[in-house]
């Protein structure tokens, strides 16, 4: 996106939430850094973020794009399946609700 017209730079910073730190950590580990098992490359992360489409930059936050891309990559690589993911997400949501 270099050179495209854009607005003033907003000098915002935010403290990262715990889940965002964990997404970052997963990326470090899955690319084989810090003792992780190398299952993907940063190139796949980038490609899958690009695949989200240009409006992803408006719709989604940075680590939302990352977690989507990493998960998509794991499915593409056959590390997890769509079915496993669906079941797990439903399980977590149930577990989360029942803790209230």
């Amino acid at each position: 996106m270099g050179g495209l017209p854009a607005g003033k730079v907003e000098l915002t910073e935010h403290d990262y939430a715990e889940w965002e730190w964990r997404v970052d950590a997963l990326m470090v580990l899955l690319t084989g850094v810090k003792g992780g098992k190398r299952l993907m490359t940063v190139d796949e992360l980038r490609k899958n973020i690009e695949a989200l489409g240009p409006d992803a930059y408006d719709r989604m936050r940075y680590y939302e794009r990352w977690v989507t891309s990493i998960t998509q990559t794991m499915i593409q690589r056959g590390v997890i399946t769509t079915e496993e993911l669906g079941r797990k997400m439903a399980e977590i949501e149930q577990r989360d609700r029942s803790q209230v």
Binding site: G2, G3, V9, E18, W19, L29, G36, E84, I92, D96
Partner: protein, 197 residues
């Protein structure tokens, strides 16, 4: 047990993170302990580490030479752990001011400086830094004189960049620690210059 008064259901993406992590743990690919340790490791990386490198280069001419030749090796010589980092250090002079951006995503020397600020990753910075660097610097409050050329570095591939700012006047005789204290993250990205306080 969560306090229901503060209860916030997981967002879709938070749900995805928890699910992905639990699946990877179940499959023996990562452990919770590894994830936690990696988070702490990243949290501990901060601009202070880069400031140390800059301060050393300011006081030690032969270290500076090494730093400009091979940024990674020079950092390692200072005892800094910088795994998977291929660092190129670019030097500000009276005639050249350097500025770093990644227009394609938001590459940043994370293993040295820690996580980048939101603005560095923003569409506006990434689009405009390459095309109108002076206007962007002005928004950061930095005015360069017209005789100074600006060099914008777009980290498009495997290298990561650090700006070695000029040592300001009025810092003669300062200790390395004191010198490091005026080198901010923004100086090492190239949107600010160090100021003696």
């Amino acid at each position: 047990m969560k306090d229901s008064g503060n209860y916030q259901p997981y967002s879709y993406f938070q749900l995805m993170e928890v699910s992905l992590r639990e699946l990877l743990v179940e499959k023996g690919i990562v452990t919770e302990a590894q994830v936690a340790a990696t988070v702490e490791d990243m949290r501990a990386r901060s601009p202070e580490r880069g400031a140390k490198v800059v301060a050393r280069a300011w006081v030690d001419g032969s270290f500076k030479k090494k730093l400009l030749e091979n940024g990674t090796r020079a950092c390692e010589e200072l005892g800094l752990d910088v795994p998977a980092l291929r660092l190129v250090v670019v030097e500000n002079t009276a005639s050249v001011h350097n500025m770093i951006v990644c227009t394609l995503c938001s590459c940043y020397p994370r293993m040295l400086l820690g996580l980048p600020p939101d603005w560095y990753k923003s569409r506006n910075y990434r689009s405009r830094a390459v095309r109108e660097p002076r206007a962007v610097l002005a928004e950061f409050g930095l005015q360069l004189n017209q005789d100074t050329a600006i060099r914008v570095h777009d980290s498009t591939a495997d290298m990561r960049y650090l700006v070695l700012p000029m040592r300001p006047a009025g810092t003669e005789g300062w200790s390395e620690e004191r010198l490091a204290s005026i080198v901010t993250r923004d100086c090492m990205i190239g949107v600010a210059v160090p100021e003696p306080n």
